[in-house]
Amino acid sequence: MKTLTIAKALGQALSEEMRENRNVFLLGENIGFFGGSFQVTKGLIDEFGVERVKETPVSETAIIGAAVGAALMGLRPVAEIMYMDFIVCCMDQIVNQAAKIRFLSGGKLNVPLVIRTALGANTHGAHHAQCLEAWFMHTPGLKIAFPCTPYEAKGLLKSAIRDDNPVVFLEHKLLYGKKETNLETGQTFQRIRSLFSVPEEEYIVPLGKADIKNEGKDVTIIATGLMVYRCLNVAEDLAREGIQAEVIDLRSLVPLDKRTIISSVRKTGRAVVVSEDQVTAGVTAEISAVIYEEAFDYLDAPVQRVGALDIPIPFSPLAEDYTIPNKTRIYAAVKKCLERN
């Protein structure tokens, strides 16, 4: 067991899968010698060469198109779209080609393709901050993974690469370099701390399985990515007040692990859904709709949605913090949810 950063864990997943299966290759901008904007592919070109670590022009549409075609030929491309904001430039190839070809060929063709992309606000302004996963949840034919620890990042990426469907793989910018050593401490971080260690042995984390990052009986908090940390922080505060919050990390948005969500909410009777994307028609809308549909009679209070305000992500760090869900807002939402008897 070794503690790693997410960036390194992802790099390991890539290199192991590439060693294992010659059909796996990478393509994207600056992923070669440069190692990618977040250094995930650092060093891979040395081991695998330019044919398997393919540096591309700034052409997102061509990147995804190339990946789709290669996948149709039986390869397993892992395409990197540097920031999720740039995915907006290649929606057609993702939505109308990658996601639909299997269906449109009557199930004859598979498109085993991974699109890795970095998301989340980190004070770079509105074109480098967007969380657009709701668009892809709304697109039949795509799977979506979103890890928040090194162990899960590695295990999920391996699953994504081995999956025979297109998978959008989300990597939060503020988590790439997160270290076990600068983790928030306390009870509620126990499980997450353990997930900073990655075993030597081969393992995978399946798509479609949520993970309970903290057990509790009073309220269910559902989150993804960076928000999992913020929710655990809130859970820590709540614990001091004697409130036991269950924090569920979805890990995959498609397939969605409704079982884990619903059985938790049936237990606690209360749910808060936290996601970094804008509230309206976002991830929190879908998750809360699912909860109502399957646990209506168990709910003691309305589900609280906590997401980014419905504005573009502002540059000013103060304003950014105000816009995306912070501890204060999450805490307030939980309290509101607990208010009612």
């Binding site: 044919e51 393919k54 190339a66 990946a67 789709v68 075609g69 070809i101 449109l104 060929s105 004859k108």
Partner: protein, 322 residues
């Protein structure tokens, strides 16, 4: 290969397929009017020489990507007519199980990787298919058909550039039929020849008479050889014309009768027919035989499609994920 050296059987085969496409489109027209085809169709009669001249250079495991106007390409690449017809009619026995329709014909067994409803979107996919071929060290080639209108899609430029830089085994065949729906090319481009626009990618790009199947065949042949020899992509612009409107709802009143007539004079089918007869190696009887056979095949295909069951909606959700 020059015109003279094309074997007789090859020429007859080209005629057979061109004639098949023409009859297929005509039959479709009839059954569309009688209400047997849902949605719409984009017909390619008039453009048969491109599809056939190109695809006659391809092996079964070579690959094409097509457009919304793709029946000809698919037939030339060997799609079974009955499965194509059934698909276009939305039947369960269609090559995509009836969920695709005319704009989503896939037939991987014959290297057909899709007609598409999004103009230009097949081109990036084609480049990826060619990348896959190269990656696997195979000697197959990809042909990506596109219209002259599609050249105004950014996706096409990104893709051609990538193919150029990576020297991929792909041939872009542009059917310049002058119109994108109703809009003539001179309103959307400053240069009359699309190939001029594509030279800027540092690849061979040429413009030819797309209604001359022999020309299309021989020019494509060189491009295919180039691609198989790992020398990179070629762009071939074929000037041609569609006889019908853009889709079934378009009476095409934006074109003059003269213009249509002038193209009807260049109809690729009689051109090849006359050529064959003039060479005297094929006689009228032989051609009639081919034509009759084609007619029967299409009738059989239609009977099959008509008799085929409807899609069972409860089964199609399985197609979404592997």
């Amino acid at each position: 290969m020059t015109e003279a050296t094309i074997p007789e059987e090859k020429l007859q085969e080209m005629y057979r397929i061109m004639y098949t496409i023409r009859r297929f489109e005509e039959k479709l027209y009839t059954i569309f009017l009688s209400g047997e085809v849902p949605g719409t169709i984009h017909q390619c009669d008039g453009q048969e020489a491109v599809a056939v001249g190109v695809c006659e250079n391809l092996n079964q495991d070579d690959i094409i990507t097509s457009t919304h106007r793709g029946h000809g390409h698919c037939i030339a690449k060997g799609i079974p007519l009955h499965e194509a017809l059934a698909e276009i009619m939305g039947k369960k026995t269609g090559c995509s199980g009836g969920v695709g329709g005319t704009m989503h014909l896939y037939y991987p067994e014959k290297g057909i990787y899709g007609t598409t409803g999004i103009v230009g979107s097949g081109v990036p996919v084609a480049v990826g298919l060619a990348l896959g071929i190269r990656y696997k060290g195979e000697k197959r080639v990809v042909v990506s058909f596109l219209g002259e209108g599609a050249v105004n899609q950014g996706a096409v430029h990104e893709a051609i550039n990538l193919a150029s830089v990576w020297k991929l085994p792909v041939i872009f065949v542009c059917e310049n039929n002058k119109y994108a729906v109703s809009t003539p090319i001179n309103e959307t481009s400053c240069l009359p020849d699309v190939s001029e626009r594509i030279k800027s990618y540092g690849i061979p790009a040429l413009t030819i008479d797309g209604n001359n199947v022999i020309k299309v065949y021989t020019v494509t042949r060189q491009a295919v050889e180039r691609a198989r020899a790992s020398l990179g992509p070629t762009f071939i612009e074929c000037k041609t014309y569609r006889y019908k409107g853009h889709s079934r709802s378009d009476p095409a009143i934006y074109r003059s009768q003269e213009e249509l007539n002038s193209w009807l004079k260049k109809d690729p089918l009689p051109r090849l027919r006359d050529y064959l007869l003039k060479r005297k190696t094929t006689d009228e009887a032989k051609l009639r035989e081919i034509e009759n056979e084609v007619g029967l095949t299409i009738d059989r295909a239609l009977t099959f499609a008509r008799k085929s069951p409807q899609v069972n909606p409860r089964e199609i959700a399985n197609y979404v994920f592997a």
